[in-house]
């Protein structure tokens, strides 16, 4: 930097540090981090950190643009620009100094992210490689968001003469990018995400980092490349426009712009090709259930939260007492039915049901057909026999979102030594379900390759109230990658849920060529029974 550039840098840095705007921006980001942490504190450290930082990227982008605009348009705002630009410093010194000062003052965002990383992991005893990889990537993500905000600010400064309009346009830029990302999600065009500042809290990247799904670290790297070239291009175009207004533009700058444009197109094409391959194979949905509708799912989900006045906070599903133990599950599962994505009959051997209300967690998109019970009277569970047993008695149940309350009749509450059988039949979509304004079901788990029964879906009734997709205890899953070896039921590492382990008998009926992968607890017996053809399945 030239000596005059250094003086401008020092002056600007002092002005930025004195500006209430910068401190307000840092405060907003710190508050968002804090808010996200309160919201997701029960998540595992790496996931928590992604949620903390991923959620603030857009704000970091916008606030960086605002802080940079504040510095770049200081003289215009103060009515000093004519005198300032007639002073000896060159444009390079002026804008170099101002942008450098903005970069230094915006590094406060990076410090906040670093502090979060140093606080979250170590405080929960997490020192694994995955955690620190995630932390490093999140720092890079924040730096890219800052750079993108600065680039947009520089471009707008060069293009727009009215300095107040620049702030509005920066905001509109963010709105536009957010819309593009939304459209990308809605249409499955995940490559469009590359034009937005990287947000690792977004589904494909979040699942990549935590579970190793596609696009993996390569996809994240490709996104970062697109962003880097986009940022460089915005800066160069801004410089070009600025020089067009004040000085002559040399051919070198034009060549640089052309190079950046070529690199941007190439990096985006790379990302596009990768996602295209993914769409054609891994994520390709099975056509015949794509338009399935589930009226029961709607009616099930319509119950009022308040009507389920159980213990704990049902709105978040955490802390509801698990007042019974499921000793054994017998799950009869059918996947990719022509109408319903998933149909299941689950018979549970429930021990110690000391209270009349039993709480379960079952994903909201899975609509319940019915709940019935019968006493075991000391007999062993034989699901095939029990399924046809006419002594099943329907019982009352209520649904609220992911939570199910089953109200046992008075004579069903037995002593701690005894047990009962509970049968729940349900069906639901297996892909991309709309979850209201909170977003879509993140994983299309029935694809051309196979079915992935993961804990986020709560595809079988979990005893007690759990926050699906967030709680460390039920979130832990296996890894599903394209080109994986034949179906393997994956075992969980032991979650700290306070569960006693259950025994599982799982019968999966599906297409023979599919891979079917499921999350199930570490202990228990799994009978893996993939049928050669899809049989008809009837639930009572």
């Amino acid at each position: 930097m030239s000596p005059l550039g250094k003086r401008i840098f020092q002056f600007e840095l002092r002005a930025q540090l004195r500006s209430p705007g910068l401190w307000a921006a840092l405060l907003v980001v710190a508050a968002l981090l804090l808010f996200n942490s309160v919201d997701s504190w029960e998540s595992a450290p790496a996931q928590l950190l992604i949620k903390l930082v991923g959620g603030v990227t857009s704000f970091v982008f916008l606030l960086s643009a605002f802080v940079t605009l504040n510095g770049l348009s200081r003289e215009e705002r103060e009515g000093f620009s004519d005198v300032f630009y007639a002073l000896p410093p060159t444009n390079a010194a002026i804008y170099g100094g101002k942008l450098a000062a903005a970069a230094v003052s915006l590094s406060g965002f990076l410090l906040l992210v670093l502090s979060a990383a140093l606080l979250v992991g170590p405080s929960q005893g997490e020192f694994g490689l995955q955690y620190w990889t995630v932390s490093g990537l999140l720092l890079l993500e924040t730096a890219l968001a800052v750079a993108a905000g600065m680039a947009v600010a520089a471009l707008l400064t060069a293009l727009v003469t009215q300095h107040r309009s620049r702030y509005v346009l920066a905001l509109l830029w963010l709105v536009g990018v957010t819309l593009l990302v939304g459209l990308g999600f809605a249409s499955g065009r995940y490559e469009w995400l590359s034009f937005s500042p990287l947000n690792m809290g977004e589904d494909p990247y979040f699942f990549s980092l935590i579970f190793g799904f596609f696009p993996g670290s390569a996809g994240i790297a490709r996104h970062m490349l697109v962003q880097v070239f986009l940022v460089v291009l915005l800066f160069l175009v801004g410089r070009h426009r600025f020089l067009c207004r004040r000085e002559n533009v040399d051919q070198r700058l034009r060549r640089l712009i052309a190079s950046a444009l070529v690199l941007l197109v190439a990096s985006f094409a790379w990302q596009y090709a990768a996602w295209g391959q993914y769409r054609a194979t891994v994520a390709a949905q099975v056509n015949y259930h794509a338009d399935a509708r589930f009226s029961k799912a709607d009616s099930n989900a319509r119950a009022d939260w308040q009507s389920l006045s159980g213990e704990g906070d049902l709105r978040y599903g955490v802390g509801v007492a698990q007042n019974f133990h499921v000793a054994r599950y017998h799950i009869n599962l059918r996947l990719a039915h022509p109408q319903n994505g998933l149909q299941a009959e689950v018979i549970m051997l429930i021990e110690e049901p000391t209270q009349s209300s039993l709480f379960f967690t079952l994903h909201r998109t899975l609509a319940i057909d019915g709940v019935a019970w019968q006493p075991t009277l000391g007999e062993s569970l034989n699901a095939a026999a029990q399924s046809a047993n006419p002594s099943w008695q329907p019982i009352a149940w209520q649904r609220a979102g992911d939570y199910l309350r089953v109200d046992l009749p008075p004579n069903a509450v037995v002593s701690p030594e005894e047990s009962l059988l509970l049968r729940i039949t349900y069906a639901g979509p297996t892909n991309d379900a709309w979850l209201g304004w909170w977003g879509n079901n993140p994983v299309q788990f029935v694809t051309k390759q196979g079915a992935y029964l993961q804990a986020q879906l709560g595809w079988y009734p979990l005893p007690g109230g759990w926050r699906l997709g967030a709680a460390a205890g039920v979130m832990v899953n296996g890894v599903y990658k394209a080109g994986m070896p034949p179906p393997q039921p994956l075992r969980l590492t032991s979650p700290e849920t306070g569960y006693r382990q259950s025994e599982f008998h799982l019968q999966v009926r599906t297409r023979p060529e599919w891979q079917v992968i499921a999350n199930l607890p570490a202990t228990g017996t799994i009978v893996w029974d993939t049928c050669p053809s899809v049989p008809s399945f009837t639930s009572s």
């Binding site: 000596p3 005059l4 003086r7 401008i8 002056f11 002005a15 004195r18 200081r74 103060e78 009515g79 000093f80 004519d82 005198v83 630009y85 007639a86 002073l87 000896p88 410093p89 060159t90 004040r246 000085e247």
Partner: protein
């Protein structure tokens, strides 16, 4: 013993000889340096004397409307040069081009022999500029603003910078306000601050656009004197609506109208443009006088019950009208009205 004494004596001689050589060498060096300094001074003085601005066929056109400057040719020598013209004449455009803030459509400008288009940086290094509506960082104090501008003008040494800032503060009478925030200055004080920042760095070219607007009469006179004082060996380009400012300060001036130079010359020459066309009529207040369409009342003053009117007219407007010696303002009005060419 004897040998030792003789050896000591020789050593003394050698030392004396060396000292003498050293003295001669230092004297020569000092005289050489003094010569060079004198030469440098002479060169600088000569350069200062020769410092001028040549403007050739300068044209500037904005996207909409007629040309703001239309093939303007001016030769501005060191000293104070006034720019007069009605609103929209192109004065500010010309000044902004000279201040490297605008690019002309065509034409050439040489400032002190430097082509403005090729080397705007060199021009900025010798420039002091005060725009029409001066404002600056509101939250900074007067001294902080001047200090920052001085830094950007290359006054690196803290002591020298402080000294220069203090000098300028004294020149523009803002010493007592040095610790006041700009936001708390009155319009006139802010204008003085603008003048102060333009004076920093001893600019060879000082461009001042409407500098006395907003100043009280005392400050205006003081400022005129200051401009005259600093204009020795420099070009001070003064644009103003106040003809009195130009009259009292500038040895030469130009009149711009609709992007064209209507006149260049001295104030006396401009005033002479209206010679034979300025008339005075003295009449009682209640006496109604009808003037011909070509006549225009320029000034009216009352003495007792009589009203004296100065009228600009190519011919005697009334039989009672007497020819009078024109003022600069009347010359200016005549030139603008006639669209005269130099």
């Amino acid at each position: 013993m004897h040998g030792a004494l003789r050896h000591k004596g020789r050593r003394k001689d050698r030392l004396a000889l060396t000292a003498a050589f050293k003295c001669i060498f230092l004297l020569c060096l000092a005289s050489l340096r003094a010569g060079r300094r004198r030469e440098g001074l002479k060169q600088r003085e000569a350069a200062a004397l020769a410092f001028s601005i040549q403007i050739t066929d300068l044209t500037k056109q904005y996207r909409k409307g007629p040309p703001a400057l239309n093939k303007v040719n001016l030769n501005i020598q060191s000293g104070m040069f006034g720019l007069l013209g009605p609103n929209g004449a192109g004065k500010t455009t010309l000044m902004r081009i000279l201040a490297t803030l605008l690019q002309p459509l065509s034409g050439e400008v040489y400032v002190g022999g430097v082509n403005l288009a090729d080397n705007p940086g060199a021009v900025r290094a010798i420039l002091g500029y005060l725009p029409q509506d001066f404002n600056t960082y509101r939250r900074l104090t007067v001294r902080q603003v001047l200090d920052y501008v001085a830094l950007l003008k290359g006054l690196d040494a803290a002591a020298a910078r402080r000294q220069k800032v203090e000098l300028v503060l004294a020149q523009v009478h803002l010493k007592e306000k040095r610790h006041t925030q700009v936001a708390h200055l009155s319009g006139g004080m802010r204008q003085r601050l603008g003048i102060g920042q333009a004076l920093l760095g001893d600019p060879q070219l000082l461009i001042v656009d409407e500098p006395t607007a907003g100043l009280d009469p005392e400050e205006r006179i003081r400022f005129r004197n200051l401009l005259v004082e600093i204009s020795k060996g420099k070009v001070v380009l003064l644009s103003t609506h106040i003809v009195g400012d130009v009259e009292s300060c500038c040895s030469r001036l130009a009149v711009l109208n609709q992007g064209n130079v209507c006149f260049t010359g001295s104030p006396a020459e401009l005033a002479a443009k209206a010679r034979g066309q300025v008339w005075e009529i003295a009449a009682a207040e209640e006496q109604h006088t009808t003037l011909p369409a070509s006549a225009r009342v320029i000034a009216t003053r009352r003495i007792g019950d009589t009203v004296h009117r100065r009228i600009l007219s190519p011919m005697r407007p009334l039989p009672a009208a007497l020819p009078v010696e024109p003022t600069l303002e009347e010359g200016y009005l005549q030139v603008v009205k006639a669209g005269a060419t130099p």
